[in-house]
Amino acid sequence: MIERWALVSGLKGDLDTYELIQKDLKKTPGNITLFVLGDMIGPEKNCNRLLHRLINPKSNDLQPWCIYGWWEEQILLESGYRGDQRAEALRINKGEEVVKSLTNAVDKSFLDWIAALQFGFVELDCGLIHGSSKDVGENLTLDTPPLTLLDRLTRLQVNRLFTARSKQQFHLELTEGIVNSEVEDLNGNRKKEQKVPQKAVIGIGAGKNYTLYDVGTDNTQFVQAGYKTEKRIKGFGRL
């Protein structure tokens, strides 16, 4: 049986999209594990029905494995789950109204569940996170310097990093790399050549755009919920 991961993010309270994805996945061959990489909530719509469904899946639903994303971090900040800090970055960038909309969109009874979510998962040699291993709010894209991508992979000690924050879908491989290091200290000099083993960063998309990952072959498929599976064609520097 083919082992596949379905990687979803940015639902932002949209139960209809979630149901569409669940419907898609029922038709997808293989043994599917569903990961929801954050931003289950957002300020645009009431999120309670989606949160209730994620916590209490229907009997024929794939069990979702969820982590928290940027919007979850904002509501936790604003609700006092991060000590004295509040969602100031959100307040400054989007205004008080958006802060209010966010807190109104999520019933307080869900906050403990959100607060218990993990920053990310490490499965096999893969890291599954919302932003980056440095920050839940960091955007990793095709334009991110490879040195930065490599650092974010190194921090989690993984070979593949699945990220959602940028909302983009891409599969960027770091195929090879080299750097020469020479250290001089009180004991003398030493030289070392360090090489990069093959690694990859995969943008999984958001909302209806999600990603299927074939664990056995390392292939990704970028999918739009409700449409047939398709491989995306993307170039450097383009969305």
């Binding site: 095709l142 310097p145 490879p146 040195l147 930065t148 490599l150 650092d151 190194t154 921090r155 891409f170 599969h171 960027l172 491989e173 770091l174 195929t175 090879e176 790399g177 080299i178 750097v179 020469n180 290091s181 020479e182 250290v183 001089e184 200290d185 009180l186 070392k192 360090q194 990069v196 990859a200 292939n219 990704t220 970028f222 491989k231 995306r232 064609i233 993307k234 170039g235 450097f236």
Partner: protein, 271 residues
């Protein structure tokens, strides 16, 4: 022109005075300090006042930050619970001893100082608590310098002086699923960058007893590690007289500082 970079003074006045004398003897007037003026040692106010009197530009170190903001370190700071207990005792002792004026001085130190292509920090550009050890992952080390938009990164915190050159680097990338393939592959050349660790004036951890600092010549671009002898007995006596843990004196006298050394060179501080 030669400039001296000193770090991790750790309230060891005889060591600081000896190093400043050595710098003066070389005719160097341009000095930058990378912080940790206090902690472990018995003369925190005296060391701060000396640095202030000489108007030496200084970054805030992790001890300087913790004395002001309270302890807030990730578990990379101490290798054992015993070391942590000693560290916390020294933190409280230092906090009690410091004058309000000197605490204000520490509170207002900058995280980093930039001079042209050089960036001066205590730990790393990310945090005063992050260790840039000499043999850490070369790409991660290069990332710290490059993302800080510097050519030479001067740091301390490890108490081990070193000069590391990262050169002739490249990374090849490819977009999977992309067509046509030839437009979707590229190789990025990485710039040559250097990390210079100034070691420690007041609490060396290089296996010897001498204080260390570095001299950088911005014309020749050369860096030299300097070792300086100082009156260790004087500092050891002051540590005992102050009621600080006697092991702090024993370590200085025997040049065995590894009790407080970060063990995992690959650790990336998440603080």
């Amino acid at each position: 022109m030669n400039q001296a970079v000193i770090s991790c003074l750790h309230a060891n006045l005889p060591a600081v005075e000896a190093v400043l004398k050595d710098i003066e003897l070389q005719g160097i007037t341009n000095i930058t300090c990378l912080g940790d003026l206090v902690g472990y040692g018995p003369q925190p106010n005296e060391v701060i006042e000396l640095i202030r009197d000489k108007e030496i530009p200084t970054c805030q170190g992790c001890w300087d930050e913790d004395v002001v903001d309270g302890l807030d370190a990730c578990d990379c700071s101490y290798p054992s619970q015993l070391a942590e207990k000693r560290g916390h005792f020294a933190h409280q002792w230092t906090t009690d001893k410091l004058t309000t004026e000197n605490k204000d001085y520490l509170a207002n130190l900058p995280y980093s100082i930039r001079k042209d292509k050089c960036l001066f920090v205590h730990g790393s550009p990310n945090s005063q608590h992050e260790y840039l050890l000499p043999d850490m992952d070369a790409f991660a080390a290069l990332e710290r310098v490059e993302n800080a938009r510097a050519e030479i990164l001067f740091c301390g915190h490890t108490h081990q002086p070193y000069i590391r050159e990262l050169a002739d680097g490249s990374i090849a990338v490819k977009i999977k699923n992309a067509v046509p393939k030839d437009t979707q592959e590229k190789e990025i050349q990485l710039p040559m960058r250097r990390i210079v660790n100034a070691g420690s004036v007041g609490e060396p951890r290089h296996g010897g007893t001498k204080a260390t600092y570095v001299v950088y010549n911005d014309v020749t671009n050369k860096v030299k590690i300097r070792e300086v002898e100082y009156d260790i007995e004087l500092t050891c006596k002051a540590i005992i007289d102050a009621g600080l843990p006697p092991i702090f004196a024993w370590r200085l006298k025997n040049g065995f500082e590894f009790a407080e050394q970060a063990e995992d060179a690959s650790h990336v501080c998440e603080r």
